[in-house]
C-alpha cells in the first residue's frame, strides 16, 4: 500500500511537471512571442510573464529577441564619387518591431535569414551612398569637411525605407561606419607616397644641417680674421709708440757724434757676430797682430 502511494505521488509530480511544460510558457522582458493555432498567428505577446497554451500541434510558440541585435557587414570595396576605391564596413543595430509580420517572412522567424536579407540591402545602399561622396567626405585632415554622420544617415535611411516598403517587421535602430580601408594595391601606393614624403624630410634635414654648419664656420672664420687683424694693427701702433719714445733720447748722442757712431758700429759688430760665424784673420788684424813678432814653426828653406 505504501509502495503504491509513493508510486502515485511520483507519477502525479511527473504528470504535473509534464503538464506545466506542455501548457505553460514564459516570455521574458527581452522577448516577444507569437502564438500560432494550427499554423495561423493568433496572439502577439510583447509583455513579459507566464502564459498558457494548448500543446503542440494545436498551438505553437515562436519567441524572438526584441532587443536591439547587432551585426556587421563585410568589408566591401566601393567607388567614391572622385573614383577612389574605398573599403567600407558598417555595423547595424536592428530590432523586431512587429513580430507577427517578422516570423512568416524569415523561415519561422530565423534571425540569420533576417540578417542575410539586411546584409544584401545594406550592401546595395552602402555602394549607392559611397558613390555619391568624394573620398574627402570620408577622410580629411580638416575634420569640419568630414561628412561621416550624413553618410551614415543616408545609408540608414535607404535601408529603412526598403524595410518599410517590404513590411518585414524590422526596424533599424542605428547604423555606423566601423571600418575604412583601401584595396591592397592602393595601400601600396599610399605606402610609397608616405615613404617619399619621409625621403623629402630626410633630404631637407640633411642639407639644412650642412648649410647651417657651413654658415657657422664661415662666420667664425670671419670673426677670427677680424680679431687678428685688429690685434696686428694695435701691435703696429704700439711698436710705433715705442719707436717714438726711443727717438726722444737721440739728441743725447748728438753731443759726441764720433763716439756715438763708433759705439753704434761696435754694437752692430757685436750683433752681427751673435750668430754662428767662421772668421778668418791674418796676422795684421788686431789683436792678432801680436803674432807678427812671434817665432813660427815654418819649415826652413
Amino acid at each position: 500500500m505504501k509502495r503504491n502511494l509513493m508510486t502515485i505521488v511520483i507519477g502525479a509530480v511527473l504528470i504535473v511537471i509534464f503538464a506545466l511544460l506542455l501548457f505553460v510558457f514564459q516570455v521574458r522582458r527581452s522577448e516577444v512571442a507569437v502564438v500560432t493555432t494550427f499554423g495561423k498567428p493568433t496572439r502577439n505577446l510583447t509583455e513579459p510573464g507566464a502564459y498558457g497554451k494548448w500543446p503542440w500541434p494545436v498551438e505553437k510558440v515562436y519567441k524572438f529577441d526584441q532587443r536591439v541585435q547587432n551585426f556587421e557587414d563585410r568589408f566591401s570595396q566601393n567607388l567614391t564619387a572622385d573614383n577612389n576605391n574605398l573599403l567600407v564596413m558598417v555595423y547595424v543595430g536592428w530590432k523586431i518591431s512587429d513580430a507577427k509580420a517578422f516570423f512568416p517572412k524569415f523561415a519561422g522567424g530565423s534571425t540569420v535569414a533576417a540578417q542575410n536579407m539586411l546584409e544584401s540591402m545594406l550592401r546595395s545602399a552602402k555602394s549607392a551612398v559611397v558613390g555619391r561622396h568624394p573620398l574627402a567626405d570620408f577622410v580629411n585632415a580638416d575634420a569640419k569637411q568630414l561628412k561621416f554622420d550624413a553618410i551614415e544617415s543616408e545609408i540608414e535611411q535607404a535601408v529603412q525605407s526598403q524595410l518599410q516598403t517590404n513590411n518585414c517587421g524590422i526596424e533599424i535602430a542605428f547604423l555606423g561606419i566601423k571600418k575604412l580601408g583601401l584595396p591592397e594595391n592602393v595601400t601600396e601606393t599610399v605606402f610609397q607616397r608616405m615613404t617619399s614624403e619621409r625621403q623629402i624630410l630626410i633630404s631637407q634635414f640633411q642639407y639644412e644641417g650642412e648649410a647651417e654648419a657651413q654658415k657657422i664656420k664661415s662666420a667664425a672664420d670671419r670673426q677670427a680674421a677680424e680679431t687678428i687683424a685688429n690685434a696686428d694693427a694695435a701691435a703696429t701702433r704700439i711698436r710705433g709708440e715705442g719707436e717714438a719714445a726711443a727717438a726722444r733720447v737721440l739728441p743725447v748722442f748728438q753731443q759726441n757724434p764720433e763716439l756715438a757712431n763708433f759705439l753704434l758700429r761696435i754694437s752692430a759688430l757685436q750683433q752681427s757676430l751673435n750668430q754662428r760665424a767662421t772668421l778668418i784673420f791674418d796676422e795684421r788684424t788686431p789683436p792678432f797682430d801680436l803674432f807678427q813678432h812671434l817665432p813660427t814653426n815654418a819649415p826652413s828653406r
Partner: protein, 628 residues
Amino acid sequence: MERNVQKNGLVNLVAAVMIFIAAFVVTSYVHSLAGQACAIFLGLGVLVAFAGWFQMRLEENERLEKLEFEELARARGETTLFAAKDAEIFPAQRARAQFEKFFVPGLGVLLFLLEAGAAWLLWRWISKADNGIVSDRAMKSLSLFGILALLLFLLGRFSVTIARLENHRLLRPSASFLLAGAYICFVTALGIAGTRAEFPRVDFYVARALCLLLGLMAAEMLLTLLLEIYRPRLKGKIARPIYDSRLVGLLAQPESLFTTAAQALDYQFGFKVSDTWFFQLLQQNLPVLLLAQLAVLFLSTGVVFIDAGEQAVLERFGRPVGVLEPGAHLKLPWPADRIYLYHTDQIQIFDVGFTPDAQSEQAKTILWSVSHTKEENFLVGNREPVAIKNENADTNDTLKAPPVSLITVSIPVQFQITNVLAWAYTNAEPANLLQDLATREVVHYLAGVDLNDVMSHTRLEAAQELRSQIQAVVDEYHLGAKIIFVGLQDIHPPVKVAGDYEKVVGAEQTKLAKILDAQAMAIRTNALAGAQAFTTTNVADATRQRLTVSAFAHAALFTNQIPAFEAAPSVYRQRAYFRAFADATAGARKYILLVTNTQDVMIFDLEDKIREDLLNLNVPSSPNNSSP
C-alpha cells in the same frame, strides 16, 4: 524445449538484424542525430544476439553429445572410457569450452572497443553537425521509429519472459538488447517529434544522452572484463556471459534494479550480499530517498548567492522584478524565478585597432618597425598629398595615391557596467555593440586629423576626446556602461613605412649634430684668434717698453762714456773695440793665418759636416721584410 530456445535465439538475431537495417535506413532518410546513435545501439545488439545464439548451439551440441555417449556406454556396459579420455571423446564439449575461454572474452573486448569508439566519435560528430532533420520527412520517420519500437518491445518482452526460465539464460542478453532497443527507438521518435514541435534541440540532446549511454556501456564492459579475471570460480557455478550487459538489462527492465544489483553483487562476491540489512533497507526506501533528493534539488533553486563584484537581474515568469546585490537571497524556485548574473564592478576591457598576440606581447621592447600585435591600419588625413610613380604597377601609368595616410593604433578601452537593467535589456549583445561604437568613434576621429598631428602634439587630446565621444554614444544608446579609460598607448605609422619615419628622426639628429660640430669649431676658431690677438698686442707692448727703456739706458750710458772718451780718445776707442771684439767673437770659429809665404793658396772647406752619430743610425727592419 532446448530446440525452442535455439529457435528463439535465431528469431532474436534475425529480428535484430532486420530492425538494425531498418533503423539505419530511416535515420539516413530523416538525418536524425538520435537515430544515428539508436542505429549503433541496435547494431551492437546484433553482435550480442549472434553470440548468444551461437553459444546456445554449442551447448545444445554438447548436450546431445553427452546423451549419445551415455547411450553408448550403457549399451557396452563400460564407464571408464568417459573418465579416461574426456577431451578426445567429447569434441562438442571441448568446442564449447574453447568458445567460452577465447571467443567470449574476445567478443567482450570487441564490444568495449566498438562502444567506446562509437561514443567518442558520435559525440564529436554531433557537436559539429547541425540539427539537420528534414522537417517534411519527420512525421514518416517518427511513425517508422514508433513501429520499430513496438516490434522490438513485443519481441523483447516475450524473450525476457522466456529468458527467466531455467536453462534459457543465454536468451537474456539479446532479449535485453531488444527491449532496451525498443525504448531507445521510442526516445528517438520523441526527439524527432520534439524537433517537429517547438523544441528543435531535443534530437540533439537525445543523441547526446545516447552517446553517454554508449560510453557507460563501454565502461561497464571494461569493468566486467577486469572483474572477470578476479571472479571466484566455484565448481558447478554457471558463468554469466560477458556480453550480457547488466546496464542494458537494467535499461530494459528498470523495475529489476535491485534484482540486477543483487545478482551482480552475489555473483561477484560469491555470497548473498542482497540478504544484508543495508541492502534490504535501501531496496525498501529507495523511492523515498530519490523523491527527497529531487525535493532538495528543487528547493535549492530557491536560494541564490551573488558574489562580490556581481549583480543579478531577477526575473519572475520572465518579468524583471529587481536587481540582486552581492550576498545570499531567497527567491521562488525554478522555473518561476530565474536570475541572470553580470559582472558589474569588474573593469572590463576590449581593444580597438589590434588583436592581442600572446607570443608578440612577451617581447620586452616595442618598436614601430616590428609588429607586436595583429595590427589594423586606419585611414588618416594628409595635409600635403603627393602623386608618385608606382614602380610596382604593371603599366607605366602613374597611380594616384589618394590624399590619405595610414596609421596603426592600439587603443584599449576599459568600461564598467553601471546600470545592469539597461545593459541586460537594451541590446542583445551589449559588449559587442560597445566595441562597435568605440571602433566607429576611433575611425571617425582618425579620419578627421592629420597623421603628424595625431602622432605628436594632439595625442593626449585625442585620447581625452575619444573617451568623451565614446561615453556620449554609450549614453545615447542607453547601454548602462561607464567608460573608465581610453588609452592611445601605441600610435605609429604601419610597420611597412615605420623604418622611413625612423630615418627622418635620424636625419634630424644628424642635422643637429652637424650644427653643433660647426658651433664647436666656431668657438675654437674664435678663441684661438682672440689668443693670437692678445699675444700680438702684448708682444708689441713689450717691444715698445723695451725700445723706450733701452733708449734711455743707452742715452745714460753714452752720457757717461763721453768724459772717458774725451780723456783718452784712442785708448778708449781701442778698449771699446777689443771688448766688443772679444765678446762678439767668443763663440765664433776663428782661423788666424800667420802668413810666411804670401803666395800660398789656402783652401778652406767651410761646409758643415754631418754629425757622425747621425750617419751611423741603425734603421730598424720592418717585421714584414726582415731578413737574416
